[in-house]
Symmetry: D2
Subunit: 335 residues, 4 copies
């Protein structure tokens, strides 16, 4: 960490700051040859509150050299983390497709979708039981009943299940859930992150709509600092000025996150684009960019063909996509 001092800082103030850092176990070096005094800190600077230092009256600016995250940092953990979900592996060369409906609705729906996506090659089943909705008047999900239906679908198919938690008070309902999802809107719900960090269960953490890559990794660090290192990172689109797509999929986040961190990285093209025909090109692009998986919304074709979410793929569309996914992952393994 390098601290650029203000010209107005007195020697007494600089000495006091130096002493404070030394009591934290840092080694301090100065550089005073220029018209600015620089203070260099060597040691475990993740414990230093950069915002607080930056806000000191005598400090012009602070520059981290080391990343503020440790557990999520590839520097200290060069091998890829492989998250093992009841034998289904994600990361380290294991590409997985997580598929299922936006919301769990009926036993028939979830069972039909589960059987079909399994047959097509999906490795995990997703389905929303607790639904974060912008409006308090919108359908909020089947909640406990939704999880019960997911667990039945798991029993039929053997597919591990992924579903979102919105409040830790509901944790008992998630006992048999295989992967707990933290949604984009809760990415900085720090108390929830800490709580799931004490579980012995993989966490799928979605990037917030306006979260930087560094903030995203710091949220993973919140979970990991409590002991749970089974975190899957999921890029699901960021908020920009563009309105033609629901959000803007930041696909460059995939290689970047994999460079900075050892955690598996997946993308959610359904939520990122909000447009079903864009799921295929963005899924193939994600494979090419090095992603460890994708999470895709799939629904069954109801007889009345009326109320299908157009963001979702139909079962046969998903089956077609999976054939291309298999060929494409195989191709890139040999490239």
């Amino acid at each position: 960490m390098i601290i650029i001092m203000k010209n107005t800082a007195s020697q007494e103030q600089i000495d006091a700051l130096k002493k404070e850092f030394e009591t934290m176990g840092m080694k301090i070096h100065f550089s005073q040859g220029m018209n600015t005094t620089l203070m260099g800190l060597v040691g475990d600077t993740t414990r230093i509150d950069i915002d607080k230092v930056a806000s000191l009256d005598i400090v012009e600016e602070v520059k981290r050299i080391q990343e503020p995250y440790k557990k999520a940092n590839r520097k200290f953990h060069p091998q890829d983390t492989v998250v093992d979900v009841n034998g289904v592996k994600i990361g380290g060369g294991n590409f997985q497709v997580i598929a299922g409906p936006c919301s769990v609705e009926t036993p028939e729906q979830i069972c039909e979708v589960a059987n079909s996506v399994k047959a097509s090659g999906a490795g995990l089943l997703r389905g929303g039981a607790f639904k974060p909705r912008t409006s308090p008047y919108a359908f909020q999900g089947l909640k406990g009943e939704g999880i019960r239906l997911l667990l039945e679908a798991k029993k039929c198919t053997g597919l591990p299940i992924v579903t979102e938690i919105m409040s830790y008070e509901d944790i008992d309902l998630f006992e048999d859930v295989d992967v707990i999802q933290i949604g984009a809107r809760n990415m900085q719900n720090f108390e929830l992150l800490k709580r799931v960090g004490r579980l012995n269960k993989p966490i799928l953490l979605k990037r917030g709509l306006s979260s930087t890559i560094e903030e995203f990794l710091m949220s993973a660090e919140y979970i990991m600092a409590e002991g749970n290192e089974n975190v899957i990172l999921c890029e699901r689109g960021i908020r920009t000025f563009e309105t033609k797509t629901r959000n803007t999929l930041d696909l460059s986040a995939v290689p970047l996150l994999k460079k900075l961190s050892h955690l598996p990285v997946i993308i959610d093209p359904s939520h990122a684009t909000g447009i079903p025909w864009m799921v295929e090109p963005m899924t193939l692009a994600a494979i090419a960019a090095g992603a460890d998986g994708v999470m895709i919304e799939v629904h069954n074709d109801p007889p009345k063909a009326l109320c299908d979410g157009a963001q979702s793929l139909r079962l046969n569309q998903f089956a077609d996509l999976m054939k291309k996914v298999e060929k494409t992952t195989a191709f890139f393994k040999t490239l």
Copy 2:
């Protein structure tokens, strides 16, 4: 609500959709003179899930005519809401300054600040006990002890206190807190919103970093729909590409929110800009734009003048600002 149907929609599908809306109590009108079929809905459309309708296979686009919020909507509540905090009123012509330190640190600190800001004219005392921090390794606040210190400061000065809740599990600690703050990162923590919506206590709701005005009002609606109509809206800067200020204060949100809603609207120039000398011009600008209050970080001048947050105003700077605030609010009342 106007629904633009796709050209590919069959009459059968359109009829089925019409029936569905009619069972929800809507009146339906069609316009088929153009090359597109439009379906117009009359009734309480706040109950309709616009995203779901938009995602139907047969729907090209949906356009709301009515706002999706009711309780927060000025149309149905033309008078300004005045939030009364133990006799201290906000809104409806009552301008209030909420002042205090970023974090509560020691009894001496909070007491000195509380006495001083009261003398200068602040109406409420703020102070962070639970601190949302990007890093799990950063100081997370004094928590319960911080609230205890705030309550002591309240006893000395009589100032009502405002402090942030991060998890509903801590609610017992907030029993004597006068205003509960929901921070920007929790603006769409819907479970927390519902819970504080059942309290009989004013809620200060901060706008999320990438939240639209409509999403902000929908989050207020979450609280109000549960019964708690004492919501204070706080614009605290949005995330943009600009890096010279911490965030970009969206001051146009003030007249806009006040037009759309009857709730009081305040701004937080300290967090929005992150720069102490910008607090004064943005506070005066907020008054000119019609805000009902401001929330300002103030700290005492510690003997060693070392660790003061540079984002905060010192006690004397705050006193000077308050003189201008008084004159300026008086001026605009007569304009």
Copy 3:
């Protein structure tokens, strides 16, 4: 085009507006069954100034059904446009790599790079002669001399050349340039667009930093409306809040632009990311997403290995990448 009228609009005003549209050759349909009057326009609405209509006192909102671009619109031109640059084809299944240095510097540099990228498989040579720089004190390019050197490199290698124009006053220098590039900062320099629209030469149009997809296509339309239909669209990163990459590559723009338009679409991973090791994954992802080409910065390895732009690939890195590009484009042709 659907116009939602304000409730305050008088019949007289509505009639007057109707008459105005009818004199423009539009057919008008009304829908008055709801609490809102809708006016539907059928005809060539590209000639209607939507902003002006939207700003009328009696208009609540305007909604286009048709896209505002015609010449660039795939609806009216279903086949892919293939831009032929002296026999080198881009689009319609022809993938091209445009490679070369950020700035043309010396005859040796540009010749060595040109020979090497040709040997590696590049189809066109790029090089900056006029350089748009944020600072007036920064190197602004070799200008006319830079173009002269590019033309020499073209002579040696036979590679067609692509270079940026910044002002139409310099057009004489571009007589033998094969593709004229309009940079992101000039994407809405409408006078320049009109001027190059009168040329008989392909134009490579870069998307502006905060340009929407629709604005981008409207800028292409400016060029095409003047008669020049040989436009290549280039996504080069948009400006977001993220700071780890120079810009955010919007890769979903590729399938979206190709759906909306028949024009070839390429990406510039070098400028979008600003990070050399990200060029490879984003290039492969672009192929997977359906792009018609990429534009990559490449430099020669100077003996002193000092001043190389780290954003650029070295010659051998580019050669390695091209092998993967060939295999990947071949793979996706068979998928």
Copy 4:
């Protein structure tokens, strides 16, 4: 300027870089006490191309201590610049209102507006002759004829006129124009900036939609570096995710620009918000924030009251606003 070297940089490479900077007249200081080598540069670093240095293989990061702009920098020009437009002064305590229609349409229109805004207290007349339009099919302005009408209005009223140039080829038409406006879309049309920098005429420079404060000042520097120091900066809204307002007015840019630069700063609330009733609160807020002026769209009330831009104020609305503007500027002078 501080350069943080990569750990992989050899001593030979560092020495070579040092020599290069020394030949540019810089003094170099090293700090090698930490695990990183820092190179500090003292001298006129505006001439150093920070992007190029940052992109060197041996450089980790570069940090400017000095701003990259000189002529626009308040550090080297502490007094406010007062731009004198034929006796009408802007800046240094002189607040001016520039008013007029979006587009010049007819002699009657521009004359009526000019007479009325003059009577209400406007100091300058604005009017669009060349109109930058997203669509090539939209009305592009009366061009030369529009300027002729503006000059007639100037003759009647004595008000100096402000109008936008889009291409330097039209410069002859601007001979008698008092202030030349560079629009947001041309803020980084560097060739145009250089050209107007050689004129002896005030330039009103609008901030680009996604331009940072620093880029904005660098564009002013382009003009000033050519000799023309009469630049008026105009904040007109930036592009964000919010859609309720046309753009997001960044009012904090006013105090920030005035701190960093000596140039006068005005705002354009009409374009920033796109909503006429928001012009008043944002104008008053701009005065409170320290702006040197505002630019407001005003139209006359045509008999048919049909085609008025709703973004514009009517003449009587403008007259009412001007009374408040006068009182408010008077109030803040005494505060």
